[in-house]
């Protein structure tokens, strides 16, 4: 609980600062403050993880949940590192603290979602995590695309939530309660409850952007500011993934046969469709959007594993994914901030002018593609391992074929940067210190989380 409280305190602190600080150079105050607050929250919340329940069981915490929260916090923190160039622009000067307040609030929502002990808390967390996000998506409100992203997100999110609730209303029938523990004992698969379960899963699938519930993803990712997109793709998705996994394992265990076939179907569709769309994208953000859809399909493979193995693989992948995807988005953000260019073709010949950035992007893309020695390789293999432990060899085959296709498009930016010739490549520019710091952290994470087995072992132990 101290974790959430600390975040809430952060919101208050930011509000106070917003009220009392002068308009000039607000960024230089608020950004380091936010980073510090986030770091403090992680420290306070992450130290000595304990297990227990509060409020009659609707709030529960344990080492695994703490770990997941830390992963989410780390994602948010890394996003903070990349916003400097964007948030300090004149048009954003009047809403600097608002950005951080909204991020902190959504993070609180996700924490509650992760710590939920019943569906109501989960629902509240979910909404707290997604409603302010629509405001974040529309943050660049002077841009048409940003406004479009905001409205598309809020409306489709509302609809998906309606479906989720509609499903829950049927699940409620079986047990008369929405407490996870009580529900687990009472849950029996029959026609109505399975129907409810599917509706519920569809609602969650929307948040994780699984095909065919993914259609909002690309538009919103493209329209939203880069930092927000990074936040969407990693943190928001991560929380939903964890909750869905946990709920499926620990609440709907009795319907394992049914949700598995659904997961398999979703996995196949998600990987394939995500890849097919990613193939043809020109805009880096849209490209990464479809890539993240495909990645979600891989995560489903991990979910198919049972017990600690599945859970640990999924959370480990989320951890890896945080570093990897934010690294990629950071580079996109750096380039977008410096030049406003976001298309793959604009990146041609970039290695000649900005070698370090390109190397970071390359490593990140390889990690996404699952190429050793970076962490993505381990993450992906462990997901496959989880699926294999249940005998899903054909599914793994489909997945690895998709991974091969994905390599094709992940190599496209690499090719543009390293191989293609360009008369007028993007000129050299110097990223700000925050950005460099963030990229450094991402790189460290991408390499360390893979090679150092401690991360996975710890997650496995607490799962």
């Amino acid at each position: 609980m101290r974790h959430e409280l600390m975040l809430a305190v952060s919101v208050v602190v930011l509000l106070v600062v917003e009220i009392f600080s002068s308009a000039k150079h607000k960024t230089n105050v608020v950004l380091p403050l936010s980073i510090a607050l986030m770091g403090l929250s992680m420290l306070v919340g992450g130290m000595y993880p304990e297990a227990g329940t509060l409020f009659g069981g609707i709030y529960r915490t344990d080492a695994l949940r703490t770990a997941v929260k830390l992963v989410l916090d780390a994602g948010a923190l890394l996003v903070f590192f990349q916003v400097y160039g964007w948030i300090r622009r004149p048009e954003n000067s009047d809403k600097v603290s608002e950005f951080f307040i909204l991020v902190f609030s959504t993070l609180i929502g996700m924490h509650y979602m992760v710590s939920a002990g019943d569906f109501m808390m989960m629902y509240l967390g979910l909404e707290l995590a997604s409603i302010p996000l629509s405001a974040l998506a529309a943050f660049d409100r002077y841009k048409r695309v940003s406004a479009e992203a905001g409205i598309k997100y809020i409306l489709s999110s509302a609809m998906s939530t309606a479906f989720l609730l509609f499903g829950l209303s049927f699940i409620y029938i079986t047990a008369g309660t929405l407490h996870f523990d009580a529900l687990q004992a009472a849950f029996r698969p029959d026609v109505l409850t399975i129907l409810g379960l599917v509706f519920f899963m569809a609602g969650m699938a929307f948040k994780i952007s699984l095909v065919p519930f993914h259609l909002w993803t690309a538009d919103v990712y493209e329209g939203a500011p880069v930092a927000v997109t990074a936040y969407f793709s990693v943190v928001s998705k991560g929380a939903a993934v964890f909750v869905l996994t946990w709920v499926l394992y620990h609440v709907f265990g009795a319907a394992v046969e049914q949700w598995r076939i659904i997961l398999v179907t979703l996995a196949v569709m998600t990987m394939t469709v995500g890849n097919l769309f990613a193939l043809r994208q020109q805009n880096m953000k849209r490209f990464l959007a479809f890539s993240s859809i495909a990645q979600a399909g891989f995560i489903l493979l991990g979910m198919l594993g049972q017990g600690a193995l599945g859970m640990a693989s999924v959370v480990f992948y989320l951890l890896v994914y945080v570093f990897t995807n934010i690294a990629a988005f950071s580079v996109v953000a750096a380039i977008s901030n410096a030049t406003g260019k976001e298309n793959i073709d604009d990146y041609r010949g970039l290695y000649a002018t900005n070698p370090r950035l390109t190397l970071v992007l390359m490593v990140a893309l390889f990690s996404l593609a699952g190429i050793p020695p970076v962490a993505g390789f381990f993450g992906k293999l462990f997901l496959f391992n989880a699926a294999a432990s249940q005998g899903y060899y054909w599914l793994i085959f489909v997945a690895v074929v998709n991974a091969t296709i994905s390599l094709y498009y992940y190599l496209r930016p690499v090719r543009a940067m390293f191989i293609d010739k360009n008369e007028h490549p993007i000129a050299f520019f110097k990223s700000d210190a925050y950005m460099r710091m963030g990229l450094l952290l991402c790189m460290a994470g991408i390499f360390a989380t893979g090679f150092i087995s401690w991360f996975f072992e710890y997650l496995f132990a607490v799962s």
């Binding site: 409020f55 909204l102 302010p132 405001a135």
Partner: protein, 177 residues
């Protein structure tokens, strides 16, 4: 047929009929009015179920709150006599098809289900009980969700400000784009 049954039939008929009209009316202000009727009729159903507090909330928050801001926004964005264009037939077919199929499937599932009604005497639901629940931090208490809602409302407030705030510098230029 008892009064109860008649009431139920009336309420549900109103709900369904005006729901349909909300969706199908081409005059948006009428839609909003129908929605209001639907919400009020829903409150009736809550009353029928003896959840008076919920009915009150429904009328106050939904009918009184949401519909009002919807109407405001309509007034902001439409001419009064605006009549929307006819719906594209493909979309109507898709919408009705999907919705019909979904409804049929769900109703079939509901009919499949064998409900075991609980014969116990229902709990008295009044403002006091509800208030006690809302501040209770123990088993069956809703203090935490209540707090979460407050954070949510704060966030929504900030979010709405972010979205609605008038830009000083860029407003003029970007609007003409």
């Amino acid at each position: 047929m008892s009064l109860h049954e008649i009431l139920f039939i009336v309420f549900s008929t109103v709900v369904l009929l005006f729901s349909l009209m909300t969706v199908l009316s081409r005059r948006i202000l009428r839609s909003a009015t129908y929605l209001l009727l639907v919400l009020v009729a829903t409150a009736g159903i809550y009353l029928w179920l003896q959840y008076e507090f919920m009915a009150a909330v429904q009328v106050a928050l939904y009918a009184g709150g949401i519909v009002v801001i919807i109407v405001f926004s309509i007034l902001l964005t439409h001419h009064i006599h605006h009549r929307s264009k006819p719906f594209p037939p493909v979309r109507v077919i898709t919408g009705l098809g999907v919705a019909g199929l979904g409804a049929a499937l769900t109703i079939w599932a509901i009919l499949q289900h064998d409900f075991h009604y609980h014969e116990a005497e229902p709990l008295e639901v009044n403002a006091k009980v509800i208030g006690q629940h809302l501040v209770n931090t123990g088993d069956g208490g809703y203090a935490l969700p209540f707090e979460v809602i407050s954070v949510l409302l704060l966030a929504v407030l900030v979010g709405a400000i972010v979205v609605a705030k008038k830009d000083k510098a860029n407003e003029q230029t970007s609007e003409n784009k």
